[in-house]
Point group: C2
Chain length 211, copies 2
DNA sequence: ATTATCTATAGATCTATAGATAATGC
DNA sequence: ATTATCTATAGATCTATAGATAATGC
């Protein structure tokens, strides 16, 4: 899921830089920005803490580059899934499933996004947050569906809360929410069931007739 | 919403202790456990930072007492709303609306719970998290509904994700999710609309026929 | 030669303790 | 007298800098 780009062999430095970003994603997801220690990240990579500053000017900028690339990747992934589809309902389902697939495949990204949702208004950590590009894609689809008469008139905010909120919780709360055994969010059967539930939900909220 | 208990006049100390808990709820919600400073909390209360330690042995135990009381309050509030109702569907709707009303009335609690959801497995901060009492109430209702044949057979985990996940996002993400103007989660009209959407959602997922 | 990493540590916080002092309420 | 609060600071971290050293790859 992490962009691997050009196949050219990486220099040692490039490899280290990427390893830092990958370790940072894990650690920021696990502990949150404040509690995550540069020491941990460095240890994962196999260098000393101060080595990180050769690649990133500060902890904050490391975090910001990371979250920026998560959003970029999510946007690109979603857009590629939508390409070709024109029907609003179909596009809405493709987008929802893309989000779920992305989060399931990259749970550390999901957890970082969920943490950003818990942070109130914009601050240094989350300037425009989860929002912007990815969300405006969803809003656009809902707007189209409504104006074409396919969807009932409903504020897109509610659907965002329902769909993206529950997707993030599905991926992040396996241990906490499961009755006895924690379910495995990446289990294809589980994912399939959840997709059909999301579909039922959207259909009910938008008052789409059977399909 | 915060328990006011016995009307007896508070001693100065009791008043300060409660003021600390109230300020702590705001600050932990706003910044998260790590970034919240005892200095801020003390300032809100009108004492110096070290004064907090007269009432609480440590920052962690202050936080734990706070989250414990949030869960206790949510449980009591939910149970009082459920009292009398026996029909599973009615109980499910009462519980859902109770959760939403609670979170709307006490958004700082909602944000603290959302933060706890973002924290992976149990740690010092969130021993059994959101879970336990309140969630098992919901699970019990779903189990009853299924065994009585009123609900279709669905894992309660999915409904928890949908309902509680989206409720938390509804309350916490007003600024981030609203298109232009932030919506006001406490606006009764907005709350009413969201309740009807949650109802549609639950009905669709549980395959309850019209009502 | 240039790039990458290390050691050592300065500087900035933040929690928590100790001991002094002020306010409360029987 | 007891309860509540203050001042001052110890002790523990953690990020980030400076300068030295080792590894890389043309």
């Amino acid at each position: 899921m992490i962009a691997v780009s050009s196949g050219r062999k990486l220099t040692k430095g490039e490899a280290t830089r990427r390893a830092i970003l990958i370790a940072a994603e894990q650690r920021f997801a696990e502990f949150g920005y404040d509690a995550a220690r540069l020491e941990m990240i460095a240890e994962d990579v196999g260098i000393r803490q101060a080595g990180i500053f050769y690649y990133f000017p500060s902890k904050l900028e490391l975090f910001q580059e990371l979250t920026g690339s998560i959003h970029k990747d999510l946007l690109a992934f979603t857009q590629s899934r939508l390409s070709g589809a024109t029907d609003p309902w179909e596009r809405l389902m493709l987008l929802t499933e893309a989000w779920l697939d992305f989060m399931v495949a990259r749970p550390s990204a999901a957890r970082i996004i969920l943490r950003s949702c818990a942070n109130a208004s914009s601050n240094d950590l989350y300037p425009e947050a989860y929002s912007s590009d990815v969300l405006s894609l969803l809003r656009g689809i809902i707007r189209e569906g409504i104006s074409s008469g396919r969807f009932t008139n409903v504020d897109s905010m509610y659907l965002v809360n329902l769909l993206s909120g529950s997707i993030l919780h599905y991926v992040c709360n396996a241990e906490q929410l499961a009755e006895e055994h924690a379910y495995r969010p990446e289990d294809p059967v589980e994912v399939g069931t959840f997709k059909s539930i999301l579909r039922k939900t959207a259909r009910a909220v938008l008052e789409i007739d059977g399909r």
